[in-house]
Amino acid sequence: MTAPIKPAEGYAFAYLDEQTKRMIRRAILKAVAIPGHQVPFAARDMPMPYGWGTGGIQVTAAILGPADVLKVIDQGADDTTNAVSIRAFFQKTAGVAVTTRTSEATVVQTRHRIPEKPLVAGQTLVYQVPIPEPLRFLEPRETETRVMHALADYGLMHVKLYEDIATHGHIAKTYAYPVKVEGRYVMDPSPIPKFDNPKMHMSPALQLFGAGREKRIYALPPFTRVASLDFEDHPFERTRFEAPCALCGATDAYLDEVVIDDRGGRMFVCSDTDHCETRRQEGHRGALLGDIPEEARS
């Protein structure tokens, strides 16, 4: 963990002015009150481009306090460029303590993953969302999708899943897999792999979703029922991996494919870098590391 520092002069705490934060907090409160429902909010132009997490950044800026400890991940890793950039932004503008340890963080901002380590009560997970509307690719018009949500008219969503099974033999959706929240709203969980979907269900943590370009916030309060859409005879299935992580040997984690040469060489390693490091520190060894402790190599 990196201790708090003095925030940059000339900017409000966490960049946004207090009025903007209040506006975002009101949207968050409404979103929490109606789980899975998309609440419009007046997203601001941020000093990062649209589509790079401006929604998540605004939500984080609105909920962050000086005592918070922030973790930022992109694709599960703390060291990917965009995560580094956003973490540096909050260090600079809010001066908050930052960490790569999931267990130490009070706020985790994420793009495309949910950490492997189960979140606990008191933690908040902030998702960056590109397209908040789960029906968008079936019906491009906002006026129509709003009515569909209002009337819970979700037949079309299942037509899409039906078509997948008819064409591919199974539901061909591997990320941004739609869910139904508390039996009411169909929600896009942001492009997390469907492997992560079950982690949303009855999570003790608060989950907030921010879409900056599309100007929507939605939420899953702690202990919300979240069900992945499926058919009774084609139930939702979590992605499974054939091999364990090459570094830490984890068999229950989401793995990234790494190309090691141009002759078809591939290895699979944990996408959640904190999870992988923690396991290695605990003495777990994958095939590539063998039984030798890491320190003794090289």
Partner: protein
């Protein structure tokens, strides 16, 4: 005798100062087929839109007896109730099948959509029902995964019918269901429709400019001209013994069967 399924009274529609239709009144009971005939511009399409709640009348009312027996004025239905009616108790067969089908979705998905909209969540059951309906409308079951774009005009129309009938509606609206099809294809479609209507005891309101379609399908007929019903009665009576000069003109201009 039970109350009518649908009861229209004083239906009038003005588009600004242009007349759509005026003072139309009739009843339709379960299992009854009503044909609305007239040339284009006579107001029959306006009337169909009013009856199916897609257009609000300038004055008049349409009362519908819901499945639970309650009688409701269509104007007072909420959007949710109207949509629910349209995917359960009603059907609408368009002249242009592309309007009534999802052209980018397979035949099976087209037939299954209504079932899924009302909560069916068993893929195998949905598919079995879709297969059953393809058979009933004489489409080869092997073509269930093809999109309607691969179908001929007649097949598309039969698929549209299957898509509408899969939830066993009580009332089906049809807008020139055989329009634009070859004569031989028309005959086969009419034959199929007649059989399905009889088997399922459907009430049908069919709009057509083709009196042969009216004779083959309908029990009763309404003749429209300039937005008003000028003659109505049992189909055989109206076509064999037309009273209005305009109806006589219409009847004499087609070949007798």
């Amino acid at each position: 005798m039970t109350a009518p399924l649908l009861e229209a009274r004083g239906l009038t529609k003005w588009y600004g100062d242009r007349l759509g239709c005026r003072d139309v009144a009739f009843d339709i009971h379960e299992g009854e087929v009503l044909a609305i005939v007239g040339e284009s511009g006579s107001g029959k399409s306006t009337l169909l839109s009013l009856l199916s709640g897609q257009l609000a009348p300038t004055s008049g009312s349409v009362a519908y007896r819901m499945r639970d027996g309650a009688i409701r004025d269509l104007v007072s239905l909420s959007e949710a109730e109207r949509r629910f009616l349209f995917r359960t108790d009603w059907g609408f067969v368009h002249q242009d099948a592309a309007k009534g089908l999802r052209m980018g979705v397979s035949a099976g998905g087209n037939v299954g959509e209504r079932l899924m909209a009302v909560g069916a969540r068993h893929y195998g059951d949905i598919r079995a029902k879709a297969e059953d309906w393809l058979e009933r409308v004489e489409i080869e079951v092997g073509r269930i995964d093809e999109k309607p774009t691969a179908y001929s005009g007649g097949m598309r129309q039969r698929l549209q019918i299957a898509r509408n009938l899969v939830t066993a509606p009580r009332l089906v609206f049809m807008d020139e269901p055989t329009g634009g099809l070859d004569v031989s294809v028309q005959a086969r479609l009419l034959d199929l429709l007649r059989r399905l209507v009889a088997d399922m005891g459907l009430a049908v309101i069919v709009v057509t400019h083709d009196l042969a379609v009216a004779r083959l399908l309908s029990d009763r007929i309404m003749v429209m001209r300039r937005g008003r019903v000028i003659e109505a009665g049992l189909t055989d009576r109206v076509l064999d013994d037309p009273r209005e000069a305009y109806t006589q003109l219409l009847v004499s201009s087609i070949l007798q069967p």
